[in-house]
């Protein structure tokens, strides 16, 4: 399939799910989608179109939590990033890690550093943070404050 056919295929299959479509450059496309559509859309990209999952990147925008799922269609040299916006007070989304291994670790990482709950994820243990890290403290949130008086993190280095 050509670039146009792939994009047309995605847009026609998930017409109601795509909230915003940004054809940024020949190699980059960003689509904002409804969070409920992440599993069917990412699965379609990965399993049907043969895209490789690069990674997901989460970000705290103060009024919302945003996650981008980056996928590359290597034959077309095209990166498609699916953007979801989540409620910052209760960020929740269905887990892709439950379905495909490639998404497993990054969901664990985003869960612990941004506090997103991935529904159905098989293994929600800490990945990078220490086991004694307190619940409900997320280091990549914008309003993160140091909780451990003995730590040498965050002293303006």
């Amino acid at each position: 399939m050509t670039r146009e056919e792939v994009l047309k295929d995605i847009r026609s299959k998930f017409e109601g799910e795509i909230l915003d479509f940004c054809d940024k450059s020949p190699h980059r496309v960003y689509m904002e989608i409804r969070p409920e559509a992440i599993v069917p859309m990412a699965s379609h990209l990965f399993l049907d179109l043969g895209a490789r999952f690069n990674i997901a990147s989460g970000m705290d925008m103060m009024d919302r939590i945003e996650i981008l799922y980056h996928h590359t269609l290597e034959d077309l040299n095209l990166m498609i990033s699916l953007r979801v916006r989540l409620d910052r007070d209760n960020p929740e989304i269905d887990s892709m890690g439950a379905k495909l291994e490639a998404y497993n670790w990054i969901e664990r990482e985003i869960a612990e550093i941004l506090g997103v709950r991935f529904r159905g994820h098989p293994d929600m243990r800490h990945l990078l943070l220490a086991d004694n890290w307190p619940d409900g403290v997320y280091p990549l949130r914008q309003d993160y404050e140091e909780w451990d008086p003995s730590a040498i993190r965050d002293r303006g280095v």
Binding site: S25, H27, R28, Y30, R52, F53, N54, I55, S57, G58, M59, L68, H70, T72, E74, D75, N77, M79, S81, L100, E101, A102, N104, W105, I106, H126, L127, L128, L129, A130, P139, L140, I152, R153, R155, G156, V157
Partner: protein, 395 residues
């Protein structure tokens, strides 16, 4: 048969970085495995958000001592992806040369360690001696054996002197003979075959499912290389081959890396001989608001950076994904069913790099060092003294 859990780590007996493997074994057979990382988490992503775009290049260069160019390369490409801009031709060539030099010395480092893991220390000594030639070449080019500080958004920081080119070329080409000898030795050596063939197989299907990267995927028959799939710098203009093998075992991972080094020599040679003149820096003044993605083929696979700018002089979000983050989880598919003696080399075969995976940082309080070398020696002496007393040795 009863099951036993064998803990390896957090201080790994062979590898330099802390990680914890918990192997569940029945007799000699591994039946389950779990990994724990995070012992080195430095919070570099958070740190980078407080630096300006130029400073971040130096911070992320310190993510990894081996891939010290991959991260700045991916990062600068991410910044350059935020808005339309062109990097000068000469800078593209210099970037390619540095990146391929790094690939060679990284693969040599791994090959030496792999020999060591297999109990084959001759390979280890030979290969690391060979690596010195490349490090010398990199020192001529950048002034340093590692952490080259060559990259900046918009170009490179340092030009290559015409008078240095013959020396660099001679050093780089000098490894070819030994590399070919090593390649033939590995292909023929019955010990290496016995230890690595059919061991720790990552099938093509599993490789795709885990989205494995770099030599780990190419050894499993998945032709995946960012340099070919999404060409950057000058890779699409040069004549070189992507190395792909089909078996997915440790042996194939060795072969892929050895052959790749020979391709890298070809690339460096072509770049040095065709280096165009001109500027080396596009001199970016401001980074407008927006987001950009940069991905490049590091020695271990694709390194991926995502940078978001809000129009100020620093990134508001900087996501770093090192290749080991995708490659390490393949242990679930490769180690189970193998013997415990093979587990070390299988786990090492992806060329894991935890420091990158965990992206850690920097700890000084108010600019002051907590401990310097002298303090650590003193602490160690005090401890030895205490132990001697406790154990009843003469003072």
């Amino acid at each position: 048969m009863g099951r036993t859990i064998v803990p390896i780590g957090p201080y790994h007996p062979l590898q330099e970085e802390p990680e914890f493997f918990s192997l569940t074994v029945e007799g000699e057979r591994v039946v389950d495995i779990d990994v724990r990382i995070g012992y080195n988490h430095r919070g570099i992503e958070k740190l980078s958000e407080r630096k300006n775009f130029d400073q971040s290049t130096f911070v992320i260069e310190r993510i990894c001592g081996i891939c010290s160019t991959s991260h700045p390369f991916a990062y600068t490409r991410a910044v350059e992806d935020i808005f339309p801009m062109d990097v000068p031709e000469r800078a593209k060539y210099i970037r390619t040369i540095i990146a391929e030099g790094e690939r060679i010395h990284s693969h040599l480092l791994w090959l030496g360690l792999a020999g060591h893991f297999l109990g084959y220390n001759t390979v280890y000594m030979w290969v690391w001696k060979l690596r010195e030639e490349i490090l010398d070449a990199m020192e001529i080019l950048s002034g340093n054996r590692n952490n080259y500080a060559m990259f900046k958004p918009g170009g490179v920081r340092r030009d290559i002197k015409e008078s240095d080119i013959p020396d660099v070329l001679r050093k780089v080409e000098s490894i070819v003979g030994t590399l070919e000898m090593l390649r033939d030795a590995i292909m023929d050596d019955p010990v290496i075959h016995a230890r690595t063939k059919g061991v720790g197989v990552l099938t093509k299907e599993k490789s795709i499912e885990f989205s494995a990267l770099g030599p780990t995927s190419r050894a499993s028959g998945v032709a995946r290389d960012v340099r070919k799939d999404s060409p950057y710098a000058v890779y699409d203009r040069l004549d070189w081959d992507m190395i792909v093998t089909q078996n997915g075992d440790v042996f194939d991972k060795v072969v892929v890396r050895v052959l790749e080094m020979l391709e890298s020599v070809k690339i460096i040679r072509a770049c040095l001989l065709n280096l165009p003149g001109g500027e080396i820096d596009a001199k970016i003044k401001n980074v407008p608001p927006g987001e950009g993605v940069g991905h490049i083929e590091a020695p271990r696979g694709e390194t991926f950076h995502y940078v978001r700018s809000d129009g100020t002089n620093r990134p508001v979000r900087h996501k770093v994904r090192a290749p080991t983050f995708m490659n390490l989880p393949t242990y679930k598919a490769t180690v189970v069913g193998e013997t415990i003696s093979d587990a070390t080399i299988i786990l090492a075969a992806i060329d894991p790099c935890y420091c990158c995976t965990e992206r850690m940082a920097v700890r000084d309080v108010d600019g002051a060092r907590l401990y310097d070398g002298q303090d650590l020696i003193r602490l160690s002496q005090l401890k030895t003294e205490r132990l001697r007393k406790e154990l009843g040795f003469g003072s």
